[in-house]
Amino acid sequence: MLLPSFYDFCCRVKTISGHKALEAIPGLLAGMNARRPLIVTDKGVAAVGLIGIVKKALGSKLKIGAIYDNVPVDSDYKVVDDAAKVYKKKGCDSIISIGGGSVIDTAKGINIVASLGSDTLLDYQGFGAVNRKLNPHVVIPTTAGTGSEMTLVAVIADPDRKIKMLFVSYFILPDIAVLDPRMTKTLPGFLTAATAMDAMTHACEAYFCLEKNPMSDGHAYRAIKLISDNLLKVVKNPGDMKGRLALANASALAGVAFSNSMVGVVHNLGHTIGALCHVPHGNAMSILLPYGMEYNLHKSGDIIGEILLPLGGAEIYASTPKKKRAEKVVELIRKMNQDLHDATGGRHPRFLKEITDRNGKQIVPHSMLPTIADCMMLDGARMSNPEEVLPADAILILEHAWEGTPLNRKKINKGGKKVKY
Amino acid sequence: MREVIGSNNRILEIDLSTKKFTVSEINKKDRNMYLGGKGMGLKLLYDRMEPGVDPLGEDNMIAFTMGVFMGSGAPCSGRFEAVTKSPLTGIMTCSSCGGPFGMALKTTGWDAMIIRGKASAPVYLAIDSKGVQFKPAKGIWGKDMNQAEAALLKEGAGALVIGQAGENLVRIANIRSGHRFVGRGGMGAVLGSKNVKGIVAKGGEIKIVPAKKEKFKKIVRRFNKYINNNPVTSGTYRSFGTNSATIACNTTGTIPVRNFTGGSHGEVHKISGETMAERFKTKWDTCKPCTIMCGHKGTIAGEERHIPEYETVHLLGSNLEIFDPVAVSDFNELCSKYGMDTISLGGILGWAMEATEKGLIKTSLKFGSTEGVADMIRDIALCRGIGKDLAQGSRLAAKKYGGEDFAMHVKGLELPGYEPRGAVGHGLGYATANRGGCHLSSYVISIEILFNMANPFTPKWKHYMVKFMENLFAAINSLHICQFTAYAVMFEPFLVKVSPFPLLKVLMGNMAPLAMNLMDVSLFPETWHAILGKHYIPYLGMLKFIKAGERVHVLERYMNTREGISKKDDTLPLRLLTEGRKCDAKEHTVPLEKMLKKYYKSRGYDENGIPKKRLLRRLGIKIQ
């Protein structure tokens, strides 16, 4: 296994996984001297009745201080401050956040304000402002994809200044992540597909991007394997709890992998498209993943080729010649997208042009591509891509991804040395 | 009464499991190579016992061996040796005892006795010249040593008994004969594990006659003269017992204080031999026969008791910061009632006090306080409460509760009452002593402190002194004669006597090999020769005598290395190697590593402390 000349790896979150994982929460909170949690969630989660499941599982051992379910899709610091007030008023001593990335980030923010004592999150901007242990924070992810439960970053918007504030500290990390398949049981097939492919992208990119390290590889490998084994099954049979648990695990594993190994061009473009055109994150990821791999093929083909083993299985890996493996990986990802497309009745898009909103309108018009390519330069993920990405390169990728044709690799701008990890 | 010239040479081998016994003979070659006593005991077990047996299991054997001197009338010869695999250390242990049992067994017609197996129910063994009777010990099992011994002595001239501690397999249990003990290494537990409460020998069936009566008489006269002239053997030891060393050791910082954290204490005079002699009006109470007369009894707390020996006084006294001689005597009496080694017990109690102080265990023990000590001694003997764990010895207790860094033992055997940071050569002796933390293996402190012949703080030549003394004492313990006679024999001959003391000191400090080899110890082999006679075995010269000692020592070492002993075990408790003491002006520790390397080299061990094949071949030890 590759030994990087330097790497760091950190994943402080205690993971509880299982069909009855939720029931373990009261004991774990008690172990951290917490008795009265605030539940943070959004309306969507509350609407499908997940709060009820959690409440039932928590039972009578734990007294819930309050439930705050006003977290919007794009959370900002005002929501955080508001929730922190509730936290203090109700005398809570810990947080349970239930939901996707936005809820979890908001909860992290709430924890900062509630634990450190100020009234507003704005007081804690900047390096080193969060400098002591926060109150216990339990995360129950409901989407199986973001991996936000495993990261030490919280992104919270400031609508007044129109910026996204970044809070980075070890202390922001949640204490416990609870992976329970009951929480994703109600997720419809196409969303399952999108979130799982999001996790797949995390794992794949973590595997071949610059900051890859042995630990992230171990996690990424297992995430890829679990997703490729289980995703189609779960999409076809939504009641498959074992499969759901596997996907929840895969998502957490991928979260660990990518938060330590960073991601590359796929996320780079995906983030930009998401920001400019409001494309669901998972969809953008699943479409761009094969292109991102193709783009980096000449630099890290060997590494990408290794993904074939968890993705396709040992037989395919062994029967494919070494040079062809990376291409086979790309092919398999495309096939997977196709299969998901079929299994969800076309609700899982394969190309950018296929993404539509509720009214059937194209979300990413072709004319947007140059703008996306320009804005791409401002996303941090481009740093860790093995190959340099400049606007011209981005256009190349986007054009193909829009049309749905394989990337013309002859056109890729090559140069420089082989990647040294 | 039958007369036997020289030596009887009969071995009684008893198997408790089958309740049978066999008789065999010590052959001449072994007699010549291993002499008797300790050497013979080791050799007998070496031939009979596999390595790796459980010390408290059926396969372990215990041997009681008499020397050639026993019964001949040689001075200070009333001693016998017990050899077995110790439950405390897991390796061979040899213990010398001056009780009446030795003479009884020898005059019953046995030179050695080996016990193996395990009796199905408690028994005691009654031995006469024909063999052994296995008698049920119903009446005496569970009784203390005083009662048990009194009961057994009805059937013979000398007896060995174990107390409740031995019955309860306390790993520091000892065996008693008269007022003397087979003390160290937990021999009592070995007998206890074999369900033997006691052994009684009829005695008086044979009489030993020296082969060369006239020469023997002359030698004995010379021997007695040496002993009576030597200031230690005839002066301090005779007047105040072993405890006479207290004041000298206190001024040089070599007594253990507060579990070996200090080397001297202002109140020590309260428990010195001189104070006790005056306060308790002591009289002699010794092994038989004896010329030195170091054992004493006196009136303590209204009853006649044996005066505690030096080690007892310091391990149960100064080491616990208890300076009340009556209290020490009380503890001593408890030990001789239940049958426990006072040295090991003191070490364990010292550890327990420090462990309590550090919060590792919960007891009522406290340094400087007698409160709870007597109760704890009872608890240990009867294996009650935490006493059950303490009864396993300080090594195992520290393994369970922690505090291995201040468990003062070497190879599992608790350290005796000399603080090696004040006498580094003695420290090396502790580390290399075969049975573990033992002062009698080399006793270099006698040169360093008692006779003040070498600088106690320098490692210079200490390896040689240790080696020489180990060889000498191993040989002496194989004869078998009291170790204290060595002072008289070493320092009284003409050459040493006339040399000015400063010259001797310079010689000892700078040319120890020369100085030590100049010491004429030929009196020992001459006595041996006079008893056995030339017709029996070839003449035993002084060099051969020392070589026999070396053989015995190396054989024991070799047996121990088969049990897993190597350099890693030849060490001292961490405290002695790393911590300086407050009582020293300049803090110093025992520079063990340096001395050990030289010691191994001069011994002929490899760098891991294992005897080289060449050495074994030279000494004629058969490699198994």
Binding site: Y7, E387, G416, K420 | -
Partner: protein, 205 residues
């Protein structure tokens, strides 16, 4: 226990590396200032930064390089290298007109909008002696960014181009991910700019 046996240890300094890094920061600052004037690509790249923008490059921690009382006595050339008195740092300022200017090393009165902070002197040494490329160094956490991440990306991109201008291929090849082909940057342009930037950086700025 005698605690004096275990004395408190105040670590020393690495003067040579301080010196080298100080010089390099000065060179980088001046070169960026010049390159923004003479090269279109760099100019375009830096144009993405907002106006009235201050960028700071420094080696953490700032306090480890105390302000010496005699700092004021030294000629401004020495203090501007950023060597001893103000910590090892440099400031670039983009004014209202969009001109980039190196404004020395004195942090007094300057508020940085974006700080690129090398985590230690050793990290700065690794990066500025080209043992690790900018991207690798970022991956390895050799420097952290305080302020808006997008701006720092712009800055790093500009830095990459300047490095290609200034350094021979054998060295800058180590520092950038993809060395530009001739089609992207002609030899003529590269060598001409290299000369111009060097001369101007050390002279008129």
């Amino acid at each position: 226990m005698n605690i004096n046996k275990y004395p408190e240890i105040v670590p020393g300094r690495k003067f040579l590396k301080e010196f080298y890094v100080g010089i390099m920061l000065w060179v980088v600052g001046r070169a960026l200032q010049v390159a923004a004037k003479v090269d279109k690509e760099v100019k375009a790249e830096l144009a993405k930064l907002p106006n009235n923008f201050t960028l700071r490059m420094m080696v953490a921690p700032e306090k480890a390089f105390p302000l010496f009382f005699y700092a004021k006595l030294l000629p401004s050339f020495v203090t501007d290298i950023g060597l001893l008195p103000y910590g090892i740092q440099m400031f670039l300022h983009k004014d209202k007109e969009g001109n980039i200017k190196y404004i020395g090393a004195d942090p007094k009165g300057k508020k940085a909008d974006l700080s690129v902070i090398f985590t230690s002197i050793e990290a700065a040494w690794l990066v500025l002696s080209f043992q690790e490329s900018t991207a690798t160094a970022y991956m390895h956490g050799r420097f952290v960014v305080e302020g808006d991440l997008p701006h720092s990306l712009t800055f790093v991109r500009a830095l990459d181009i300047v490095e290609v201008f200034l350094l021979p291929k054998i060295i800058s090849g180590l520092a950038v991910k993809r060395y530009p082909k001739w089609s992207e940057m002609s030899l003529m342009r590269k060598f001409w700019k290299r000369i111009v930037i060097y001369i101007r950086a050390f002279t008129i700025g």
